[in-house]
């Protein structure tokens, strides 16, 4: 459990997409969120679909990973489809049963909107599948850098993200340990009436918070002892490199955007 948690959904690999700079991947998703809205007819959806397929293919990931990423939204897609069929009352009737009439536009809109979801989710899933959390953190730090001028503590926020990431598995293990220690003292977390079960988590929470505080305290002392004095004048070991590949793929996405604008109806 612990091991699977911290890497999240990341699947190691060396594909084109794995090698892309996290900044370009983040930018890509950001642009894509807008570009999906440009599509509004068969041709434009087809182009968008091709682009998505291209990226999916370039990850070289087994499809089951992508399907896993889609699981949480399957019901949303279904709901979307049904909703549009029920609500849209335009175009010729395809099918009628009592008060229920399915119009052609409804089916088309249902398909379009579902695709929109599908494309968006695929792309964001790919980000998490091909980028380690720490790369994403670095990418965010770099992209947000300009906001430093308006007082956003970008360096500190990024540092907090990486420290939290590092402590998540530690705290999970700790939770497990405390739980076992209290169970050995007769605590019962899994049965009994709901009220009793809720109060049973207090003996778990208090030690957990106390240990988190102690860790924070010791961590701060260790950081200062190692010369940490804020982001000023700090150098970095991890460096992001923007390659031609990143420019090409982003360029391609922008081109897709322009084409969609031209071809939409």
């Amino acid at each position: 459990m612990m091991n699977s948690m911290i890497i999240g959904k990341y699947v190691p690999g060396a594909s084109l997409v794995h090698r892309m700079d996290p900044r370009s991947k983040l930018t890509m998703i950001f642009l894509f969120v807008f570009i999906v809205f440009f599509a509004n007819n068969a041709v434009t959806y087809a182009i968008l679909g091709l682009f998505t397929l291209f990226i999916v293919g370039a990850t070289k990931l087994p499809p089951r990973f992508l399907l896993n990423g889609l699981k949480p939204i399957i019901w949303i897609i279904l709901f979307t489809f049904i909703l549009h069929i029920l609500v849209t009352k335009e175009g010729p009737v395809l099918f009628e049963a009592g008060f229920l009439a399915v119009h052609r536009e409804g089916v088309i809109q249902g398909i379009y909107i579902s695709l929109r979801f599908l494309f968006l989710i695929l792309l964001t899933t790919i980000l998490t599948l091909t980028t380690t959390p720490i790369e994403v953190t670095d990418g965010m730090e770099s992209l947000l850098h300009p906001f430093k001028k308006i007082g956003l503590p970008v360096h500190e926020l990024a540092l907090m993200m990486s420290i939290s990431l590092r402590f998540i598995p530690t705290l999970m293990e700790e939770t497990d340990k405390i739980m076992k220690a209290q169970m050995a003292r007769g605590a019962d977390f899994t049965s009994g009436p709901i009220k009793q079960r809720i109060s049973a988590i207090i003996p778990l929470l208090v030690p957990l918070f106390i240990s988190a505080f102690k860790r924070a305290e010791e961590l701060a002392v260790a950081m200062e002892a190692r010369g940490y004095q804020g982001g000023e004048g700090r150098t970095k070991l991890r460096e992001l490199t923007w390659r031609a590949l990143d420019t090409i793929i982003l360029g391609l996405l922008i081109a897709v955007g322009i084409v969609l604008l031209l071809l939409r109806s």
Binding site: L83, H84, I113, S164, M172, I202, L208
Partner: protein
């Protein structure tokens, strides 16, 4: 930002993520919301918002990103702001006042996140209505977690913040 504040907030963020991950198998039960609200009440809106935004981002990084991430960040961020400001005003009977507020927060959260659907489709309202049972789960969970967590966090914060200079003050 002092080193102590950085390390303290980092651990709180990690705790909130652990809370969210541990309950991910129960639909829409989010101890994370209660942790954010209480942090905001006790440590003020800014610290609350930092925990909200980073906790949200990190947990989605581990659970799966989507466009919803932005809306969740916004929703938790707004809640942290609101509860942080309320925390400055309300000093007594906090459990009595904030527990119902935490329940309402569940619905507000649901509403803000469903804006995602308002943007993505023309029928946002239907999605929102369909989501209300889930929001209710969230809201009920908030109430319970708030009741349990507030005294715990209040005591531990008080104990440690008085002893050491964390660069944050108890509100």
């Amino acid at each position: 930002m002092t080193t102590r504040r950085i390390s303290l907030l980092s651990l709180l963020i990690a705790l909130s993520v652990v809370g969210r991950l541990s309950f991910q198998f129960v639909p829409n039960i989010q101890p994370m919301t209660a942790i954010i609200l209480i942090t905001a009440i006790l440590l003020g809106p800014v610290n609350g918002m930092i925990v909200a935004v980073l906790g949200c981002f990190l947990s989605n990084l581990l659970l799966g990103m989507g466009t919803w991430t932005i809306w969740q960040m916004l929703a938790w961020g707004i809640l942290a702001l609101v509860f942080g400001l309320l925390g400055k005003a309300v000093k007594r009977n906090r459990l009595l006042i904030f527990t119902p507020a935490a329940v309402l927060a569940g619905y507000l959260f649901g509403f803000i996140v469903s804006l995602n659907m308002f943007v993505l489709t023309a029928n946002g309202l239907a999605y929102y209505l369909a989501g209300i049972p889930f929001d209710t789960m969230h809201a009920a969970g908030n109430g319970i977690f708030f009741l349990v967590l507030y005294p715990v966090m209040q005591k531990t914060f008080q104990y440690y913040l008085c002893k050491n200079d964390y660069g944050v003050t108890l509100q």
